[in-house]
Assembly symmetry: C2
Homo-oligomer: 134 residues x 2
DNA sequence: GCGCTTTTGACAATCATTATCATTGTCAGC
DNA sequence: GCTGACAATGATAATGATTGTCAAAAGCGC
């Protein structure tokens, strides 16, 4: 029997994926991460990358985003609940907090009798640099 | 010349898809809609369903949602910008408005110099009926 | 070191969505 | 009401990210 079911083992692959996430700045797709690991000479299977990312996401250590019409993107984020302001053009992401939004979502859901509430929010736009280039 | 570039033609298929969207209540996937049309005896290709839905979505006549780990869902919605409170269990969706959220998103984006801003938000929860059943 | 258990990873399978392209249906002008 | 140009359709194949499979290869506790 186990109270916490997170009986994870430390493996090179897990560390490698985590390391890449630490060093990269913006969001990366699973395939991107796999390619990066490949370039570094780390021998990690694509399947393992996916599994590791899922695990980290479940553990709340990384953030997942599903941009419209694209693949899943992963990023190591600061702890706690927050949202992202993402540049449509260059992919740069800014973490933003909105306590007002959180409470609004909870309030609305409660008003309709919904329980076990979660929410997702992404803001898309063009960042100043990209806007200037055009 | 044409001020609006939507030079769409009226076809039976387009009407059929639109009709189904009018009659169904919650969110439907493209494949669901295709199945419904099939059952009705309407002969509409899956490709056309996808194309029609895309067109309607672009025109802002229907709403698209990308639930975590699922396919795209479409629904005819009231005009104007709004968000959805969706039941995780039965799929029932409630339209909600949050002017505070809109302005917050715009404000945050502006503060970081982002332009041409849009955003997406979905609230997930368990509706009272489904919560009671458990 | 030993053995049990988890993890890995090459490959195949899945599945929603998109591209292709010849055929068909619409609409505008006559 | 015809007709012809051109958009729309749809059966099928292609795409591509993600997931399943399962034998082989590490970890970890002893």
């Amino acid at each position: 029997m186990n109270i916490d079911s997170t009986a994870q083992r430390n493996t090179k692959q897990r560390s490698a994926v985590s390391a890449v996430l630490n060093e990269t700045e913006g969001f990366n797709s699973a395939q991107d991460l796999h390619a990066i690991l490949r370039d570094r000479g780390e021998r990690v299977g694509l399947t393992t990358v996916y599994r590791t990312l899922q695990g980290l996401a479940d553990a709340g250590e990384i953030d997942v985003m599903r941009p419209p019409g694209g693949e899943h993107l992963y990023r190591r984020c600061s702890q706690g609940h927050h949202h992202h302001l993402v540049c449509r053009s260059c992919g740069r992401a800014v973490e933003v907090e909105g306590p007002a939004v959180e409470s609004w979502a909870d309030r609305v859901a409660a008003k309709h009798g919904f329980v076990d509430v979660s929410h997702t929010m992404e803001i898309f736009g063009t960042c100043p640099e990209c806007a200037a280039k055009r």
